[in-house]
Symmetry: C2
Subunit: 369 residues, 2 copies
Amino acid sequence: MATIRDVAREAGVSIATVSRVFNQTALVSEGTATHVRSIAARLDYWPNSAARSLITHRTNAIGVLLPDLYGEFFSEVIRGIDLAARQEKYQVLVSSFHASAETIVSAIRALRGRIDGLIVMVPDADAHTAIQEFATRFPVVLLNPGANAPECGALSIANYDGAFAAVDHLAKLGHRSIGILRGPLGNLDAEERARGYRDALAANGLAWDEALEVGGDFTESSGFQAAADFARMRPRPSAVFCANDYMAIGLLSALRDAEVRVPEDMAICGFDDIAIAHYLTPALTTVRVDACSLGERALHQLLPFARTRRPADGQREVLPASLVVRRSCGAPVPGTGEARGARSRRRTPSSPSHHRDERLAAGSDGATA
Amino acid sequence: MATIRDVAREAGVSIATVSRVFNQTALVSEGTATHVRSIAARLDYWPNSAARSLITHRTNAIGVLLPDLYGEFFSEVIRGIDLAARQEKYQVLVSSFHASAETIVSAIRALRGRIDGLIVMVPDADAHTAIQEFATRFPVVLLNPGANAPECGALSIANYDGAFAAVDHLAKLGHRSIGILRGPLGNLDAEERARGYRDALAANGLAWDEALEVGGDFTESSGFQAAADFARMRPRPSAVFCANDYMAIGLLSALRDAEVRVPEDMAICGFDDIAIAHYLTPALTTVRVDACSLGERALHQLLPFARTRRPADGQREVLPASLVVRRSCGAPVPGTGEARGARSRRRTPSSPSHHRDERLAAGSDGATA
DNA sequence: TTGTAAGCGTTATCAG
DNA sequence: CTGATAACGCTTACAA
């Protein structure tokens, strides 16, 4: 591989000049610049990034740390980050870890020196404090900061508002006994969604009943298993709010096996609006979160800090969540055929495709802040 | 951030010794080693990777280049790569590009110098040649090499065999008119699947009829649109093989709207076995491809070459694809309830969970090679 | 506008 | 076993 010295020699200039050409320093005449560029092209020269970042202390890369790379939600987040990074000419280093506060620290250590900034989604409150400490001396954007104000950049989805809207919608449909299939204990998103559930009950004059809360872990199989718990309840809830779509899918599947009709016997609502939600039978009413633009926004929030290598201050942005009404909750669905398939798979985050699901905006009013 | 010099000074040794401690060179006494380590820990020292790779010419990172980061298949591939990389202490740099031969070259250029090896999934034959040239001087593993023998490492899924098995199964069920919903023109996977479709027809004494082939682009919406084409055919095909699951989902959805019963009026079969396939109504018969272990295997195939920075030779591995029979093809499904939800979402690639779908092994007999 | 030269923080070579 | 010291390929004052 050709080095800066080869180009300099071949072009009959100094290495400093070559360097300037590649750094747009503009302190070089147009003539020599083009000459150098042509030599460089012929030699297939490109600045060595290790040498470059050794002296500049910048890597032009950002790290992404997620609890696990499984599932559509995370994959969409990564896609959004990648999209934005490509645009900003940043590289993306992805890394997953497995939920304990211990490994998150080692994951960060492995990334150290290779990135200018970090986007991280924290699984629980424990890991949260470890990250917070790190964030005081490094640019970090948190993807789910929980309810308390973080000391770093933070981007959250309107978990509370979205859950509130969903449960409020169920209550307004006349359901008096509404169950919840919760996410993992300690999971920040799950906690906020549960909080939204409870407050929506209260707002509708419904008493909170611990017996109506079933624990889940965000997986389809936990949703499948939860069906038995709901079936056992007396009285049986006429509606269930699931803390994510995967669990709702498992639950729907189990209910079908048990010949419990949805929405007639039990109305179901999910959270996330993953692509499948639209294609289930019945189509799933859920809370839409635009995971792709979450990733995009995170990168854009991080970048100014990454560029200056200054810890991100406590700015916070909340991404709205909107209720998408489909068949599974039993509400009348506007339009015919519900425009199945009309939703483009490859919608770009900046221009979400329109579709005919009824959407009720929620969040972005800062209720979580 | 502490440097090697700080540690050396503090520990009263030379920088060479500190370096040796961190490189397990073993030429250092146990006593000094532990002493140095404790000092390093106190100073929170960790070798600067830029400086390190500047001199060693190794980055301990590999690049992953995919056509687009959308969809469950790709996200599972990345997960597999990440899993294996974590184990091997390699970092993963992901990057997507948008299908033209031009951008794939620029994507590679952007990665150059930052990675020791590259895993790339080529969209079409054009980009293929660009990659091939690059692969002669850099460790590369191709994820879908097509039918011709590549000059680099290659890992492919048994597209031909999987498609053959699926269509053969439909034919054996008595279908005489079997349509195909094809993938994008020029897409290597799609071509192989179409080839398997045709050969399976021939093997069952069915004439190939161009009119039964409908073009798609792997998206749900293209599957949705294709329904009209199939409905218009005379005679209408009694079965359709879709080149991937997303299109099958769109097709199922459109057929339901049109009140065409599946599988009674039309049997449907997909390809990939994405997680959703199991939960559709009717559950989708499809060809399982373990995307996660595809990623895993790719990394393991690449690593020896990445470590030595030697171009990967023409070794080739084919991952088997197996037919998973569910309700949508109309064949009797063994067992009751089909064990919905029994399939763990978080199955690890090394130990896929067992489930009661009927599975017929296909591929791995090298028919694609 | 261009060149010279001093590092950036490591690893590798060669003496001790 | 340990210590000097020369690279690695680049950016950036400082000079010209």
